[in-house]
Symmetry: C2
Subunit: 444 residues, 2 copies
């Protein structure tokens, strides 16, 4: 961080009327927040090596959600009693065998799905493969192409290309906003991110799904950056297939298993490319010929990963009594307020928001691009935005950085407070305000 | 269990000279066992609901290995400190990101692989898919078929058929012993189980691999029932691809992630059908075009499942200082002794061993088929072998049952004692001895 001069880590907040105004506003918003008490369901202690002893403002829940309180005790019991003492009996007696569909049913209401439409297990990438191959097999015979969100998180594109190679189709990248115009009768399906991981832009799930259906194509949605942050409405909008991870806004833990949604009316036509024994109609018959299970069970593959699944199940208890609609209301209020605070604290011209100001197009993160002039002045090595984020983290504000110039701040309404948003913007203002003037070039 | 009359749960052992002889022999064998102390590394406490308060004889480690002592504390630290306090920092600071290949290197010596040839993650079924598709892509252009072990664990056959469908090949089931005769120049690869899950038969990995190579085909081995129980020698025998689970003899926990082995000289030709972002040469560059990582990393797919991976890593510490050769020596001694005890305790004609008596063909389990006359007398419902196993479990001897007539007993040399083997055979003798005479037909 040699390029960012040292400044006092906390400016005298009460000396600045702008600061006072935002801090007072944050306190008012927190006092009126109906979800404020839900924050107590999460572990927000400071890291053991944290110099100040203060808890961080954690705005990286769009990458790894924080630890919900019940997980630790639950997993201790799973390990010591269910595995350690009951052992093999737990496959039946502790409900291990049915965990993938049971936990799917717990995620379902958060994404607008009825019971029996979601199954948990495998990584997001593996579930994308199941969904794309399964979708292609349900598509019309004359289809020759798969559309992929041109700004997709990379793994979706890689897996879609692999699926296309294995089914003889082509992949065509299309901006989400252009899908309605680009879809043709030759399109088998489109694989689209509900929220763009980089910009936080919310894509039009109902409209794009409708447009795809009008052309006879299927809609396959990646919910990684939307599930748990805003209503998805899979059933209501007749989405065909969807996948998502559980370690971001669902707080399931690092690398927690992903899920697959299959529209009820398509389930009996779904042919998995990964027909493992757990998706068999009678798995313990050990039948050499494959007969898929009915319903969503055919989205299962191999033996489910119990420790991670049950950690996720415990984590989902943090949602008890919480409606996704109130999460959305708070999410928009948080990102609005953060943007206001950034405008108040950060010197003009140093960052530009990539996140749409219109609520209709906004997910639950704010992405700020560092000024291209600042970035362009850099000579090799870590981009300036990476160094800015390092310094924010050092000062207890944890977001993340995406190449080449993006600072990402995720807002998780279950545990993010308005005071967090105010502090994050204030520290960002301090760090960016301490940079050498743009016109003078970077120091060092 | 109405069909099996109640008998005293322990016969007066000292009254029977045969019993005393076997029990004395068990004590001698345990006293001379160089691996006896390794048992202390495992949790072998009785289940909380166990009537007698005695620990079970657990002979189901070929399905789910018992809990190694270090796992509970390690996972508590992963959850509370690494996830709960360090959060996103742990991907680098706690070594999460590199866990798949690091843990692969810890499994490698147990299966005769050098470093950089094994990667952990995903289920066995998913890894079979990677291996079969990857293998077909490396095979000669004129290949038209995949051979699959005719007695395979079902998932291998289901996945091989899916892979064949997606690559335009046919699947031909062949008995492992016939592969050398059946392989042709049109064979892309053979997928074979090293140990048969049902009978415990050990297949000839070196010989079958050589025969496949002579015909220009690749050898893909499923090590689920051999890894951790006997030497595999993947590098030494030039195996091309291999997969295995980690929750049986490796004691990684329920549904712990599986692994993929790729022969070093084939790695740069391996093209994964699941090219997730974790297998990219530069995953954080978020490059829309796919460039596979060098070496075994290209076997990775999506974000690794950290809780399960790190539980496995802690479980592997039970292997410290243990050579797989001494595990094999004890395994054969255990199964020999168990078969001797079965001969001594079980009335003639009630069970027949499906497990080869020749060490060369024996894995680390004993499978006993219940007399077909007994089975044939049954009217519907649970097969007699299933009821026998239920009764064994009620009396504290845990094996498992496979349709229609097989009792399976797995021997895990790290924690199974000769006293366990003697007790299991004795209880089996009590249960089977109490059955009505075969000729008189089953009661009830």
């Amino acid at each position: 961080m040699s390029e960012i001069p040292e400044v006092p880590e906390t400016t005298g907040r009460t000396e600045l009327s702008g600061d006072r105004e935002q801090a007072v506003r944050a306190a008012e918003l927190d006092a009126a927040d109906p979800l404020a008490a839900v924050r107590e369901r999460f572990v927000l202690d400071p890291a053991p090596d944290h110099a100040s002893g203060d808890a961080d403002v954690y705005l990286d829940g769009n990458s790894l959600g924080v630890l919900p309180r019940g997980v630790s005790d639950r997993i201790a019991d799973v390990i010591t009693r269910e595995w350690g003492q009951l052992r093999i009996r737990s496959w039946n007696e502790s409900g291990w065998w049915t965990a993938p569909e049971r936990i799917g049913d717990k995620i379902a209401p958060l994404i607008g799905a009825g019971p029996g439409r979601v199954v948990v297990g495998d990584s997001t990438s593996v579930n994308i493969f199941k969904a794309v191959i399964g979708g292609v097999r349900m598509a019309g015979k004359g289809c020759t192409e798969i559309l992929v969100d041109a700004t997709t998180f990379p793994t979706d594109g890689y897996i879609a290309r692999s699926a296309a190679r294995m089914t003889g189709l082509a992949v065509r990248p299309v901006e989400p906003a252009r899908i309605a115009d680009e879809v043709t009768e030759r399109t088998a399906l489109a694989l689209v991110n509900h929220v763009d991981y980089r910009t936080g832009r919310l894509n039009d799930l109902p409209g794009i799904t409708r447009a795809l259906h009008s052309a006879g194509a299927l809609a396959v949605w990646d919910l990684c950056h939307s599930a748990g942050a805003l209503p998805v409405g899979l059933d209501a909008h007749h989405v065909d297939l969807a996948v998502g991870c559980t370690y971001k806004y669902l707080n399931g833990g690092p690398g927690a298993p992903a899920y697959l949604y299959i529209r009820e009316s398509l389930q009996e036509r779904f042919e998995s490319p990964l027909p493992g024994w757990n998706s068999h109609a009678e798995p313990f018959a050990m039948d050499p010929s494959y007969e898929p299970a009915a319903g969503i069970l055919r989205g299962r593959v191999g033996t489910p990963d119990i420790l991670s699944l049950l950690a996720l199940e415990a984590a989902l208890e943090a949602w008890d009594g919480v409606a996704i609609e109130e999460v959305r209301t708070k999410s928009l209020a948080l990102t609005d307020f953060f943007l206001e605070c950034v405008a108040a604290y950060v010197p003009p011209g140093r960052v530009r928001s990539l996140t749409p100001s219109d609520h209709q197009w906004r997910g639950s993160q704010v992405s700020l691009a560092c000024s291209p002039q600042l970035a362009a002045d850099r000579q090799g090595g870590t981009p300036l935005a990476g160094e800015v984020m390092d310094e924010l983290i050092r000062r207890g504000v944890v977001g993340d950085f995406r190449h080449p110039d993006v600072l990402r701040f995720g807002f998780t309404p279950l545990y993010t407070s308005f005071a967090d948003a105010e502090r994050a913007a204030r520290v960002l203002g301090e760090v960016l305000g301490a940079l050498p003037d743009v016109e003078s070039g970077a120091a060092g």
